[in-house]
Subunit: 269 residues, 6 copies
């Protein structure tokens, strides 16, 4: 066993210390709480207090970047500052997502219910925060954030995906959106939808491996759309359980034709 | 940015303060712990202590209702009282669920194992608590509870669904039961089953959008059953991956006929 | 209600006290943190401290076994000791899994990212710990551990399954591996794959109910492979959404032939 | 060592389980927080919420009494109810204490400062709560409460002491007020004052062992007043460091005559 | 009782919300941890991380000031900035205090032991932080800080007192230093020493009520020095239990002449 | 400020990392909880569980010693083992202390009350644990432990003091027992007693600086006994506020003769 302990000790010496996944996730959840007072029991008595809370979140982000050694050749403080400068735009985008869910789900009674209880909304918000950090070149933290959302909601959106406004996500469990996906505005995605790669070889890093979904597309539960050359044209509807590896024209509706056999198994008397 | 902070401040002023999702979920988990000592490290030394613990849970529920402004024109205290009067009935129903899992899963070694480790059992119990609150007209809290279960188990049962006794749920991940579903007694549901709406338009609020599953039906993994007019007759068996949008008679067995192509890809020497 | 309280009190008297699921899961997560300093903010200043930490983990395991009354006719202390003697082997196996993910996923940027963020890796590691305890005859704890992983990752691997080295698991949500599955080396499993039982009757306890997957098999997302007599021969590829209940020869590729209907639904002007 | 472990185990079996000191102290601190919103970050949105919070505190007290087996031949629930019925009177008394400190200490800037920062005020409040429980015959809990205050403030007031309104306590450290002390209204006590027993023999249980302090008495720092027959008449002033074991008439001023020697120890050049 | 609840609700509405005492104390303890790595398990990997930690402490101070409404007619942010600009000076002063204890107590084995374990050192440090805030006109927070130190150490130093460098405080329990005290450099104070007011009338606010202690004075345990006109000249020694209400010249030694009676109480045979 | 941060960084590099005071204190409090089930809400179901708990406490002590680098030239593991071998003896000694308080204080109603609520008992127990570590040559930890007790109880016993059985300590606030004190059996000490050094010069390290108190001595509140050559003979009684710097024979009673002036200050009509 001594060898084993020595091995672990050597490995530890090589490893960079960095903030825990938990702390990184808490930072993002805190930003969400600041943006959506509906989720937040902590209330502010003045605009000055809100401003201060954002400043603290910026300092915390700076510290996370510093400790992750996020930026070797750039300025972590500047990255943190840019993120918060962009935040109002991200926030407006999140509002469009909440609206899309409210408009699309008959079971949604109010925007407050959407913001407080819809896992789809949480997952999209975390993605939008992670994606901004991804755009700023921050390593590891974006993936840690979307994995946190994945763990809580079963919805796995890679921070590298490009997603437009008014994204509707439903129950969401099992939804996967791959790294090089491009999704337009006003898209609706139901649970168990996969927007994945057709085949998966390590050599494909940095190529377009995942499909392009244009504006106003609806993809029902369990549909699978694969491949970097697959484009789903705008205003198309992809039915539940459809398996799609080729592009479809705009305004196309694709149905899955189930192939089932029915047997009468009533017990004979 | 000042405008942004002002906007958030204004929005906060409009928002009702209410208990956090975490606190609401903890209340329900505590009720479960009281009902199932197998899950509970806190032990009671007398019946009086158990009684007291339930009284505390009732006061806590009253507080949650009060702070949620659950009942504007009714008596929150009475709602809390009714809930706990109904609890023994709910408990008996949960026992039938545990028994159904114990009887149905070869991997289950004991009722204790079912109660402590089966996510399906946890999800059903939380649903049964949430459904009782739903029946009492409590807003928001039922959805918060079932979303908590969804997040922990991947099983999404809408609190509005009506479900009979002896519900068997298996691994469960990805299972979805919609708001207007009606499920009979002795039904078995495997993972990835969707009991959903055929199409989803906001105008369909308050209509029967989800299927009716009669007694003694078994629905295997990945099956999708959609639509408010779809009735699965009693003693039917719906096979894995079946896609069903029409009613079936009692005692029907439906198989998915897979359509696969087999290629020998052995490397030639 | 008095009867109800009396009933709960009687039931409590019959129930064994045992450590909470949370504590059991924390023990396993702590072992993982010791093995993978990448996940761990606590650093050790000497080999002696690492050794001590493992000794503490062993004492903690002993306590968990003792309190679970795990071993009625054997020596809990010895079981704990054997587990930690086997740990270096388990660790080496986990390293092969990390390598498999690193080699197989184009989106993985570094081994550190795999270890810190891939839910598949976490689920496999927890399974490997739970499986060792299962082999040692420990009741309940292995299932509690794999359910913890299931809850966090959506990946459900039964601790009784037998799994070789270099297991690749991807996003993983919805993956199910049943109790009597046997999986070879260098197998790749994508999300939503089910390795399950063909039919599920309680009488089948202790029989081979789940399939055998030989070496170098790849199973794509959403595929379902069922039955204890089903053997997937080595170097086979099972395509996405395939439904398989019979054995296939080595070097077989199976495609799902989708059956979809395309309709042009462009609005006419 | 086995004998030692056996001994501890036997002893444990004999010992009653009861709530921890920490939990008992938290109950009392919570009551204080309810009474003095100045100390309290939790705010209430309506009178109904305040009422509910007191009801919860009453249920918690009932549980503490139940678990302490406080009342073998009386009704713990009734004791809890009486305590809260008396609370408004106790509260008014606490207000007189705060006023006494505000009036008496030149360094006190506001009542809020007194309530938030004066250890003397905290110690008096805890005493007044503990004394009410003492009057109701509750065992152990009153002493646990005053020891909590002692630990936090260095002020040791036995819950059995009888103390009038407008008690002024200053810095307080080292102040001791014995079990059978009787203190009038408008009394001022400085730090290090002892109101103790003249001699201390176990046989003196239940006799008047500690002095009587009448109204409007001031006792300066470090004074020691001992004995159950010692009465300090009203409007008397006892100077710092005075040692008093006999009664003094009303309107008496007692000075300590210091006996010191002064030496010029200037270094000679 | 309704009246009582109404009364508390009204009072609550009048009360300012402000940060809890606990949070204010934690801020100060955190500053101490930053200054003295001997007390601190959190280690920094670079100067940049230390700088960031101070910036966070400054933001936190700003927030505390803002929420306390500390500065109605000045700039809370500027106050926070000034405090941290002055901190290196305060730190140097603390180092002289640690050195004074190390030099003066034969039981002190190392500076590390002084910094980690001497309550006198903790109390002085907290006083020095509180005094700087007092100088900047911050209300309430300085008193909350010194009361925190009082509660932990039994040492009560008013934040308004003026104290020079190299202050030696020993065991300290019961030591009191009043609001208008002036203490020179290289002074040694033993436990139970009171530097207090001669008489205490509310009208004396803002007058010099407490003594002046010049450089190199030693005051032994239990001595009491009172009055705003009392000056203890430099290089004087005040013996244990001395009661002093008049000034003494420099280089004076004052002994307490004990007045005791010895009785042989040997039991006769 | 950059210089300041650099300075702190340099200092940190020089400083040894060691466990926090809090963690060290928790270890000792845990040992106390194991010894006195009256203080302990955690109950054990078997002797084996008790044994295990002690083993864990031993491992924890070993870790504390290791991280404190307690023993450079000896075996930390052996030191931890010896401590626990000695623990039954220490425990028996603590029982004599509890009995002494029970026998001596009329206000003590039961041994359970003594063990749960008397700060004197807590302080003695912590001292006895710290003293054993002191005897084993452990640096720093013993002082950290007795300072913890000092902070909680106001009682300051140096871990180096030698104290016999049946020590009675009362309210205790302000009690000081110096490093080289020697105290016999059956000694009673009241609050504010100082057993200190006559003069305090750094050069006196390792000499006998504090008094010797023989068996069956009683020392009443506020008495001060100083000097390494001062011996209080057995069966002596030292009255309250006595100031003693010379030895007294066995069977001596010493009274403080108060010197007070009484003035009738009745207001004339």
């Amino acid at each position: 066993m001594e060898d084993f302990y020595n091995h672990l000790y050597q490995k530890q010496l090589e490893v960079q210390d960095m903030p825990s996944n938990k702390r990184i996730a808490e930072w993002a959840m805190n930003v969400l709480h600041l943006l959506f007072p509906e989720r937040n029991s902590k209330s502010f008595e003045s605009v000055a207090e809100i401003k201060l809370a954002f400043e603290q979140a910026e300092v915390e982000l700076f510290e996370l970047l510093l400790k992750t050694k996020a930026c070797s050749h750039c300025d972590n403080r500047e990255v943190a500052a840019i993120f918060f400068t962009e935040l109002p735009k991200i926030y407006n985008c999140m509002l469009t997502d909440a609206q899309a869910i409210m408009d699309g789900d008959p079971a949604a009674r109010s925007i407050r219910e959407v913001i407080r209880t819809y896992p789809g909304f949480t997952a999209i918000c975390i993605y939008r925060i992670a994606h901004q950090l991804w755009l700023l070149g921050v390593p590891l933290i974006p993936r840690i954030l979307t994995e946190h959302a994945h763990s809580k909601t079963g919805i796995d959106i890679h921070p590298g995906a490009k997603i437009g406004e008014y994204l509707y996500i439903d129950h969401g469990t099992g939804l996967v959106i791959g790294e090089t996906c491009i999704i337009g505005n006003h898209v609706k995605l139901y649970q168990g939808v996969t927007l994945g790669a057709l085949s998966v070889a390590k050599s494909m890093v940095d190529t377009q491996r995942h499909p392009i979904i244009e504006d106003y597309v609806i993809i029902y539960a369990g549909a699978t759309i694969l491949g970097g050359e697959t484009v789903v044209g705008h205003h198309s509807i992809i039915g539940g359980n459809v398996w799609l590896t080729n592009s479809v024209e705009p305004y196309t509706t694709v149905y899955h034709l189930p192939n089932s056999k029915f047997i009468d198994s009533k017990p004979t008397v």
